[in-house]
């Protein structure tokens, strides 16, 4: 709004120049104009302001529709559009119709004064033009001023004395009577509501209020003085009123200063008012702006800080005591479970290690057993106490049956490992599957010999056996036994007891084709 006001003032100023001739009227209008918006015009050229006033009456209808501020803006623009004072008269006529439109009450009261207004518009051009225009204008602005009717008598008288001045005063006065109470009670606060009712036609309420206050003074003083005062008062008051509650205080000041101050006065106040009001407003704006900026800065800062803090592993830091206690108990129970698991694992480890020992023992045992079995199966060379038996005889004296009988006798007496060697030194390990067979005739020289496990052996045969020598020798010498039967056939058997004998021949291992161990 502040920005708008200056503009308005500027707009009015240009318009004012044409009017200077009719200062009185302008002054009257000025009051209205001031009331509406801007003082600057009043200060610069009060008379100029007057024309705008007439338009305001026309605008009055608009004002009621819109907010006070908006209305003021509109009025300002209108005033700017209608610059020339002379036109004001013509404008006035339109204003009069408008008056009826605005509030009915003002019109009725204006009735007495109304006649003047119509007449005024009708006679705009003549020398009376100044007064006439003023009259219509007062009426129009006064139109707003229902109060005008009471004030009307005075203004008229004033007008006679001081043509234009009196009318403005009358206008001011008119509003005064009705307005005064309202204005003093809450001039600035309710500019919108109160201004409209009393000024009805006139757009600006704040203006009315100050006008009222001023009016008394104006009326009391001479007519000439009155107009300037009205202007002054109005000028400062209007801007203030439009702006804020501060207007209320200022109007009072305006009243006091107004009486003393002359035309110059209005100019000063306006200048002072604009900067003053504007400056504080800017300061206020800047203050709150800075505050908002600071708050938002803080907000962004803390937002990021919080986001970052939440990002890290500082979750425990933000937790409450109860949550921490719960977490602690959870951890404790977890620890207990883990401890139990540790003990369990220790046990299994021990059992496993003991199992390993057993396995080693078993392995040892198994290997021992494998050795034993290897010796028994003829797969390993063996050494131990035993006998060496030499058998001498031709094919007729020693046959395969004799050798087989001897081997069986030795097994029966506890032989553990045996081998048989021929006269040429060929040795064959005797195992469970060893076979003895008389060699077929016709091969070789004078002796055919015996085939043992596919190898042909000839005399002298040497059997080396590991076992208990005494038992075996005794078993061989049994009467009617193996040795005796060989001796009977003409053979010769010589068992020789030796301490340790070696059974070095090895039986070739047959890989098992069908049998598999059961396990």
């Amino acid at each position: 709004m502040s920005s708008d006001e200056p503009e308005n003032g500027a707009a009015r100023v240009p318009s004012t120049p044409p009017k200077p001739p009719i200062e009185d009227q302008p002054t009257v209008h000025l009051t209205a104009a001031d009331l509406r918006h801007t003082e600057p015009p009043a200060t610069s050229v009060p008379p100029v302001v007057l024309p705008p006033v007439a338009p305001p009456s026309g605008f009055a209808p608009k004002n009621p529709d819109k907010n006070p501020d908006v209305g003021t803006e509109d009025t300002v623009r209108l005033s700017a559009r209608r610059p020339s004072p002379q036109q004001s008269s013509s404008q006035v006529s339109p204003a009069s119709p408008q008056r009826p439109v605005s509030p009915a009450a003002p019109q009725t009261q204006a009735g007495p004064s109304a006649p003047q207004s119509p007449s005024a518009p009708q006679s705009p051009a003549g020398p009376a033009a100044p007064r006439i225009p003023s009259l219509p204008r007062p009426v129009s602005p006064g139109g707003p001023s229902v109060p005008v009717s009471p004030g009307a008598p005075r203004p008229q008288a004033d007008q006679v004395a001081a043509a234009s001045a009196g009318q403005p005063q009358a206008e001011a006065v008119a509003p005064v009577a009705p307005v005064s109470p309202a204005a003093r009670t809450a001039p600035a606060g309710a500019p919108a509501d109160r201004p409209r009712p009393s000024p009805g036609p006139s757009a600006e309420k704040p203006a009315v209020i100050p006008a009222v206050a001023v009016t008394p003074e104006a009326t009391a003083r001479p007519e000439a003085s009155a107009p300037p005062e009205a202007r002054k008062v109005v000028a400062p008051a209007t801007p203030k009123g439009a702006r804020a509650a501060s207007a209320a205080a200022k109007p009072s000041e305006a009243d006091a200063g107004g009486s003393a101050g002359a035309v110059d006065g209005p100019g000063v106040p306006t200048d002072g008012v604009d900067p003053e009001t504007a400056a504080p407003a800017r300061r206020r704006m800047s203050g709150t702006t800075v505050m908002i900026a600071l708050l938002l800065l803080l907000f962004g800062f803390t937002l990021v800080v919080q986001l970052k803090a939440n990002d890290g592993d500082t979750t425990l830091l933000t937790m409450r005591q109860e949550d921490l206690v719960r977490i602690l108990s959870d951890l404790e129970s977890t620890e207990q479970r883990t401890q139990a698991e540790v003990a369990e694992l220790e046990d299994s480890k021990q059992s496993l290690s003991s199992g390993a020992e057993g396995r080693e023992a078993a392995l040892r045992e198994a290997s021992e057993r494998a050795n034993d079995l290897g010796v028994l199966a003829g797969e390993l060379p063996a050494r131990g106490t035993g006998l060496t038996i030499k058998i001498n005889g031709g094919d007729d004296q020693v046959e395969a049956d004799d050798l087989l009988n001897m081997v069986q006798e030795l097994r029966g007496s506890g032989a553990e490992a045996m081998q048989i060697a021929g006269g040429d030194g060929t040795a064959v390990r005797i195992v469970a599957s060893t076979s003895f067979q008389d060699a077929p005739a016709g091969q070789g020289g004078d002796q055919f010999g015996v085939v043992v496990d596919g190898k042909r052996l000839t005399s002298t045969y040497t059997i080396t056996v590991i076992g208990d020598p005494k038992t075996m020798e005794t078993a061989l010498r049994i009467p009617g036994g193996v040795i005796e039967s060989i001796m009977d056939n003409g053979g010769n058997v010589t068992p020789q007891e030796q301490g340790v004998v070696d059974v070095s021949a090895i039986h070739d291992v047959n890989t098992l084709r069908y049998a598999r161990p059961v396990s």
């Binding site: 709150t288 702006t289 708050l295 907000f299 800062f301 937002l303 990021v304 109860e322 949550d323």
Partner: protein, 111 residues
């Protein structure tokens, strides 16, 4: 409005580059305060769109929102119901934020 946005951006950048650590005493209240401020900011944006934004009102509502939220949580902590109360505050502020965002959405998208 620009200065507000600029200030917000500056604040975010400050937070990013300064990388401060939050005092442990404030840790429980900072999140709540941020949510409360978020509510005030959305309210301000909504008011701006409604064309009835008021500087003073915004500043006061912002500060009071933050303070009241923090005080409620603090009281809750002293009474032993800090967790529940902070949850309640977050719920209330969340509802308000949703309302404000809905109004803003209606303004921006007319839907």
């Amino acid at each position: 409005m620009m200065y507000a946005v600029i200030a917000l951006i500056v604040g975010v950048l400050l937070g990013v580059y300064l990388d401060p650590t939050v005092p442990p005493a404030l840790l429980p209240y900072l999140p709540i305060a941020v949510v409360a401020a978020l509510d005030a900011v959305f309210g301000g944006v909504r008011a701006q769109l409604d064309r009835n934004f008021d500087d003073k009102q915004f500043v006061i509502s912002f500060i009071s929102n933050v303070l009241v939220a923090a005080v409620i949580v603090y009281l809750g902590d002293q009474l032993g119901v800090g967790g529940q109360l902070s949850t309640g505050v977050v719920v209330v502020l969340g509802v308000r934020i949703f309302g404000n965002v809905a109004a803003i959405r209606r303004h921006l998208f007319s839907a």
